[in-house]
Symmetry: C2
Subunit: 339 residues, 2 copies
């Protein structure tokens, strides 16, 4: 194993992917802070919009590791962490290096600017994966360069761009991902498949989705609620993809407050939304194949079931593979032009 800039960036990437689908309307970002001898001082990610950016979380961890000042651990608000770091850093970050999957933001939005913070802490080397093309937040590199910071761009750029794509798609028009759960032998039917931990993560994704697309068959058979109760989150609007519009209105999903439910035989409705999750099996895979940006698959450590996704000759690239508690979690994209 080679311990180099790519290694530190890969740690930042791995941490960031754990929060993919959870940070909307913000991007998933990871950050690794490395000390002057190459020691890892902090590897953190952005968890949720409104919470600290990845750089702030990583600098917080690094500050605690370098100073043992536990006061900072209690601070949750980004502005408080910024303030504490700026008042107490005493130049300890001068020789550290910072690796971030996305160019640090240069604007004061819901949280203060990361580029400012990095510059004021005196960090002299910053390694960046993807450039920020969002006009409001961009120019972090310029701000850093003007403050005697060496900026190295395009570190694991392909991998960082793949992490960032969902965010860029929501800026452009919309991001659509297809989520399914299967057993080790590919089956998607016969009851609950993934672990409690995986299902909680899916509920957290529903909480930040604005539209959830589901098949009519699933609604009739499973009679689901399709809310985010496992994380006390909000329930997204629902598009039931079905030709037959006759549903038993006693099915719980119709009874969730502050939710719109559409029953339609096409996908035009998604144009009104930005962050869209599709849940389903083989039929939904086929029906939605043309609009999906990324696929998310939970693979459970079990056998059984009968039905799996029947669609020949599609090929994918695995973008990130993680094992969280019991299941394997795979983010992937379909490779175009596969005949």
């Amino acid at each position: 194993m080679v311990i180099d800039n790519n290694f530190y960036m890969s740690l930042a990437l791995r941490e960031a992917w754990k929060y993919q689908g959870l940070t909307y309307p913000n991007p998933a970002v990871g950050c690794c802070v490395v000390g002057e001898h190459g020691e890892i001082l902090g590897v953190e990610a952005h968890h949720k919009a409104g919470e600290p950016h990845a750089e702030v979380n990583a600098l917080k961890s690094a500050y605690y590791k370098l100073t043992n000042d536990s006061y900072i651990l209690a601070l949750k608000e980004s502005v408080d962490i910024h303030t504490h770091l700026l008042s107490n850093h005493n130049g300890i970050f001068k020789k550290t290096k910072l690796y971030t999957t996305l160019e640090p933001c240069s604007h004061y939005g819901k949280t203060p600017s990361c580029a400012n913070l990095i510059a004021e802490l005196g960090i002299e080397e910053v390694y960046i994966g993807s450039s920020d093309t969002n006009k409001i937040a961009a120019n972090g590199t310029l701000k850093l360069s003007m403050n005697n910071c060496m900026v190295y761009s395009d570190v694991l750029k392909t991998e960082c761009d793949a992490l960032l794509l969902p965010f860029n798609k929501t800026l452009e028009d919309r991001f659509v991902f297809f989520k399914w759960a299967e057993r080790l032998n590919g089956t998607t039917d016969e009851g609950t498949i993934s672990s409690q931990s995986s299902r909680r993560q899916v509920h957290a994704m529903r909480d930040v989705c604005d539209l959830l697309v589901i098949g009519g068959g699933t609604v009739r058979e499973d009679r689901p609620t399709l809310d985010a109760r496992l994380v006390n989150g909000k329930a997204p609007d629902i598009l039931i993809l079905s030709r037959n519009k006759d549903f038993d209105r006693a099915i719980p999903l119709f009874d969730v407050p502050d939710r719109k439910v559409y029953i339609e035989d096409n996908l035009e409705r998604i144009q009104e939304y930005k962050n869209i999750m599709i849940e389903g099996g083989s039929a939904m895979y086929t029906l939605t194949r043309g609009v999906v940006d990324y696929y998310l698959c939970y693979i459970a450590p079990s056998l059984g079931g009968n039905e799996s996704i029947k669609f020949s000759n599609d090929k994918f690239t695995f973008l990130n593979v993680d094992k969280e508690s019991e299941d394997i979690i795979v983010w992937m994209k379909r490779i175009e032009n596969n005949g």
Copy 2:
């Protein structure tokens, strides 16, 4: 992400699993050397019997990182690396920490003793996952302790023991693993599934297996050679599990020199062997379920095919999940007593 002893051991574990199935008759072992400030100096594994142990490979990487003495990079033989390290270390390892998934060996076998090397380099802290119960090589901890080295045992012990189980099983009686390749939707039929890189890894495993078990149906349909040509390795003996013993002897596997081929309707033959790989799909899964220690699955990023493993209600624990080139590689064990 928490950067602690478990983190360094997890790096050693991750590296070691890449060589699981390739190190027989030796164990798969990983090692991480960490500098006095917590910087990672080397993460390496044992690759193949006769080649350097994980500790030697990791100390070699660390030495190069600390000294920039490129002479050591050209050394391949364990004894040469030992000699160079002992003659040139100048006390640079004094403040380093060494993490190894298995207690360092204390005997001079095909290679010199790792415990001796670690003690002579003056390393003061060693973190160990599994104890070595192999009588010939054991007592590394004692040797280290007698040389003013602090030894911390049982670091990620469960994970390290899972890595070591195949080795211990070969000492006890035999290790049997079932390998299959599937697509993302679980299918195992219709031609080549896994990547060239995965198939090369399987050939390297055949090279160190002493028996390969295969189903009669596969032999008749695929007419395979079942050798290790992709790595210029030796071909293992073959047990064809089949009631019907009538096979076309022009099938290439019968024509490989220095190989025994058994055609039998039961698994008793495995008792004559130590390191046994079973390759197959659903039928072989069912027939061999009672004798398998670990399962190894290659998941390819594609859809298609029709047949998958049909066996209800088996549950597994994923021991290691890796993404290598295109495929996902999963080592797992079946959980007993699953009704």
